[in-house]
Symmetry: D2
Subunit: 140 residues, 4 copies
């Protein structure tokens, strides 16, 4: 299954439908192999001590898998998160963006599953991983 968007088109579409997240996330790369999504870390993503908060990591993982689903199904796609597992491995490094590498593990008629590995920019040490399942409602 080919891509319904290129990176620029998908970014523009997501900025339009989710204006409130547009300033948080940027698509660095998109191909049939997967996606690279950046969390543009700002004050509001931090928790006491200065590390990126859990909810910000969840948001990033969720947004990454949603983008993967959209990239295949195109604009008319509806999809809602039904399940998430999330493991936090290491403290992110201070003052760095978080880079998420996402791959689609399954794209079925009613379920899509994506896997996300998250790193501090410039590091190859895993900060967190997540698997997200989206339910795709039947059309019409």
């Amino acid at each position: 299954m080919g891509l319904a968007f290129d990176a620029k088109g998908l970014q523009a579409y997501m900025d339009e439908i989710f204006p409130q997240v547009a300033e948080d996330f940027a698509i660095d790369e998109l191909s049939e192999a997967g996606i690279t999504m950046r969390l543009k870390v700002a004050e509001r993503h931090l928790r006491p001590g200065g590390t990126v908060s859990g909810p910000s990591m969840f948001s990033l993982a969720d947004c990454t898998v949603y983008a993967l689903v959209l990239s295949r199904l195109g604009q008319e796609a509806l999809a809602v998160t039904t399940n998430c597992s999330l493991d936090f491995m290491r403290k992110p490094e201070a003052g760095r963006d978080i880079i998420a590498k996402g791959t689609l593990l399954k794209l079925g008629r009613s379920l899509a599953v994506g896997d996300v590995h998250m790193f501090s920019e410039g590091s190859d040490r895993l900060v967190a991983r997540s698997t997200m399942t989206y339910s795709i409602p039947p059309k019409g």
Copy 2:
């Protein structure tokens, strides 16, 4: 193991250490049996369509289990989330707070596990559930 805080004391302590979440969450009830935590739903918690966003639900679950751990271990407690599972069952009802019922399933020397059931206020239909594991670093 008794409680190190009552509801009011725990709320005051969390407001102090997490001022940025103080306006989002309120402890409705705290006992040895568990905790009831409220997400005071506001515009910033919604996603397009007007339902409470996934990251807001994650925050609520995370904060609920953290509060359970603090309620037992007291102020000196350090604890970091290491694992989360989250199932989304139903769309929350518009314009209602989300009420989380949390129970501590385990409080060991190095790991604490809590379970959270989330509802729209006034409804007994489950919106989401989550299990969170916190790692408790050795003292000193």
Copy 3:
């Protein structure tokens, strides 16, 4: 939604379709509120040291939620496990059956979600918990 089976009828039906698990599991109780399923612990369920093995606990949780789904949808039901989270809290007590308390959190058109709490018989200390999602394929 009412029950399509009583405990005895469901046990008979599961023994027929899953003869290989018939000797492992027994339904102690079934009502609209939930199910109580027993793992009849034998040598083959143990791992070195004499505690019940992880795969046996997984089997019990899986079978419990499958029974919940069957109890509602009846004989014609098809359902496959798509997702599982499992937390191990405490070592089961030696020489005791494991008792699983299962409740259905959601029964939608395409997804069913069940929650299982597992105890050593005669104890109220949680040994493990699991949430299982089953996908229900469209009919015909």
Copy 4:
């Protein structure tokens, strides 16, 4: 951190401590990058319809991550599973072994986390994935 065993040595050690699983699993490959573990599919691993059962897949994932932990920590290692997430993506192909590719995501002082991707032999389509967390008790 180097390896405490080579593939042959680890296989021999696991056969000795877990004789009951020795006939189920074989280590195909072990390196610092990860492990390849084979489930030697036999009648007892199947469920009605002839596909590999969920508990067999759980066993394979659990055993794969346990082997990864042993390969680093050596014989004296104690480790117990505390958490598992498991996603089933596709039906395994009939009459084929299941091949698990495992990587260690984290090896901390008290927690180890491993990721497992499972395939039918000869296919690159993912059958299931799992993340397993092991708790490593303090020595002595």
